[in-house]
């Protein structure tokens, strides 16, 4: 197996909650990411799924080092980004990892033309001589399927799908090894969503990019990903190949999640038994003791309330965090 491009070891990102203006009191901690261990091979597409508030986006920001890590190690291409990185170290590392955000209306600067947006990273990192910036911008636009004649246009002149293409081109400008896409298609219509999914998988194949694809739509994740990680309250509860996890889910949470997605097939949809979870996802401020899923789990037992299940190997390339696996 090739050495991983990204290795996370027991990463925790906690946010303190304090009350009071002058005399700040520490009243609690949001454990947004709570002990995630994960590795990503070069060229691999990892899907990250979970409900809102489960820590998917915080994990992405932690990898990018946009939020301080509480503990654990984020190792990108052999360099530990968490241990005493100076700004300069991070700056160099960020060339190799880039991010695409959910809302292409908010993630592009409305006062910058496409050219400015795409040229900025090239200038900041001085990756190409000033006279060839224009040529490189043209190349980037063609790469994501935008006509270079739109170079001097502003974001408001583009549709949602085109804006997401600009955001992807901007992420590709520095030829990163890793792209983190945080819900890149959630804000788009189905026909546009298909274009962006095709583009992302083509780019990954062509440029041998690693991609962390965050989404809540499991059918989209299954389509694009090699492996899938399911998160619940800051922890990974199941990890495996996309087909395995989504077609043969093991963890009770993954099972419920998979059964909750409506499939566009009337026969299947009308006959199948849906596992409807009770209640809302609990708050990450006071997560339940023991297995954090136990209050909503249909198979929970007394032991689930006390023991925190570890992520254990369950088959080839498959890891599941459930102590009662195989008992139901």
């Amino acid at each position: 197996m090739p050495s991983p491009i990204l290795q996370l070891t027991d990463v925790r990102t906690h946010f303190p909650i304090s009350h009071g203006l002058i005399f700040k009191r520490h009243v609690g901690t949001v454990k947004a990411v709570d002990g995630v261990t994960l590795s990503l091979a070069p060229g691999e597409v990892l899907g990250l799924v979970g409900e809102s508030g489960c820590g998917k986006s915080t994990l992405a920001r932690t990898i990018m080092q946009l939020v301080p890590t509480t503990s654990g190690a984020v190792v990108l291409e052999g360099k530990n980004l968490t241990a005493k990185s100076t700004r300069e170290d991070l700056r160099r590392a960020r060339r190799h990892m880039q991010m695409v955000f959910q809302d292409p209306y908010a993630s592009l600067n409305p006062r910058m033309t496409v050219f400015d947006t795409l040229a900025e990273p090239l200038r900041v990192h001085a990756v190409c001589p000033p006279e060839s910036v224009s040529a490189r911008v043209t190349e980037l636009m063609q790469l994501v399927g935008l006509a270079p004649r739109f170079m001097q246009k502003y974001p408001h002149e583009f549709s949602g799908g085109q804006r997401q293409r600009i955001a992807i081109a901007r992420a590709l400008a520095l030829e990163p090894r890793l792209i983190i896409a945080d819900e890149p298609v959630s804000a788009l219509d189905v026909s546009i969503q298909a274009q962006i999914l095709n583009l992302l998988s083509q780019l990954c194949r062509k440029m041998h990019l690693s991609l962390i694809f965050i989404a809540h739509d499991l059918s989209v994740v299954k389509h694009i990903s090699d492996r899938v990680a399911v998160m619940y309250l800051g922890k990974i509860v199941e990890l495996g190949t996309a087909i395995d996890v989504i077609e043969r889910p093991s963890h009770p949470y993954t099972r419920a999640l998979v059964s909750a997605i409506p499939t566009p097939n009337p026969e299947v949809e009308r006959t199948r038994q849906r596992i409807v979870l009770l209640g809302d996802p609990p708050s990450p401020i006071n997560p339940p003791a023991g297995c954090s899923f136990h209050p909503r789990c249909p198979h929970a037992q007394e032991t689930c309330r006390t023991a925190i299940p570890a992520l254990r190997t369950a088959g080839v390339g498959r890891e599941v965090a459930c102590d009662r696996l195989g008992e139901f």
Partner: protein, 324 residues
């Protein structure tokens, strides 16, 4: 006789940049107890259709140019406002996409939930409150007696949507219009809300118009589906027929572009070009410029929704002639 019958509805928005024909000649009917799905991409006119029926179009800039919506002998679009008000909110209710913004943050849930009763029924406040409590319990809110006195921000997204549903159903309407009610919710919560809508529909025997862009949601919930594109209905059929034998190229294209129906990792079908500019008057089929079967004739000849078999109608001229 259908419960609701909409004929030739045209709603447009008159702006400085021109006239946007958001709904352009839509006709459909809804039977008692039936669930009708309206599917389309953003800007296809699915919400504006229902807003027009509910009288929620801001005028100006909006204008209902023509059309009738017959409900129990009353034309909702052309009757006096007092008459329409007795129906809207009582016999036809609506829930919206975003439960965060469609509840009034300044009012306790109790006041909002009993408002329809106070307005539409001759009822004392205490009796209305009792029914409000029962309605909250019916939509699955635990500890309703305490929670009825809370403010909307004290509820989670799924709970707010439950409150919205309780509020819409408190007058036991005959039609519920649900405008993307689960789009803003997580999948597990979406499953809860869909089950709830099904259960309430079963209990009250009401008809539901379900607006969504998610073909998956439609397949489990709806008896009949109509697909909208550029303000027009391009295809309508019962759910099974629409999913298994779609006739209109746009419906086919939509199905081919969703990952759930395609083999994993395969290239997804993409609809070329861009959604049409509805401020420009189109003569022919609005989908023709993006259609892989489009011809010059398609862009010239006006299209009409015509039946191809009983209960199945579509607006593709070439498919009707058997050319594709």
């Amino acid at each position: 006789m259908p419960l609701l019958s909409v004929q030739d509805l045209r709603t447009s928005f008159h702006t400085r940049n021109g006239v946007y024909r958001a709904v352009d000649g839509v006709s459909f009917s809804l039977e008692r107890g039936e669930t009708l799905g309206i599917v389309g991409e953003s800007g296809s006119g699915k919400s504006v259709t229902c807003y027009s029926i509910m009288g929620l179009i801001p005028q100006p800039p909006g204008r209902i140019e023509s059309g009738t919506a017959m409900f129990d002998g009353v034309d909702l679009l052309n009757c006096p406002p007092t008459q329409a008000r007795r129906i809207r909110g009582k016999r036809i209710a609506m829930i919206f996409q975003d439960p965060m913004t469609s509840l009034n943050p300044y009012l306790r849930v109790s006041e909002q939930i009993i408002e329809p009763l106070i307005i539409h029924e001759n009822i004392t406040k205490a009796a209305a409150w009792e029914r409000g409590l029962a309605a909250l319990e019916a939509v699955g809110i635990n500890d309703a007696a305490r929670r009825i006195n809370l403010y909307p921000h004290e509820f989670s997204g799924g709970m707010r949507q439950r409150v919205m549903i309780a509020m819409a159903l408190i007058t036991k309407p005959e039609i519920l219009i649900a405008d993307e009610p689960t789009t803003a919710l997580d999948v597990t919560v979406q499953a809860q809300i869909l089950e709830l809508i099904k259960k309430m529909q079963h209990e009250l025997g009401m008809a539901v118009i379900f607006i969504t862009h998610d073909l998956g949601v439609v397949s489990g919930l709806c008896d009949r589906v109509q697909v909208m594109y550029a303000g027009k209905i391009v295809e309508t059929a019962d759910t099974r027929t629409l999913f298994h034998h779609p006739k209109h190229p746009y419906t086919q294209a939509l199905q081919r572009s969703i990952p759930a129906l395609q083999p994993k990792g395969s290239e997804l079908y993409t609809i070329r070009g861009m959604p049409p500019d509805i401020s420009k008057a189109e003569v022919g089929c609005p989908f023709a410029p993006r259609c892989e079967f489009g011809t010059d004739a398609c862009s010239r000849e006006p299209t009409t929704l015509q039946p191809s078999s009983p209960g199945h109608a579509h607006a593709c001229g070439r498919a009707h002639r058997g050319e594709i």
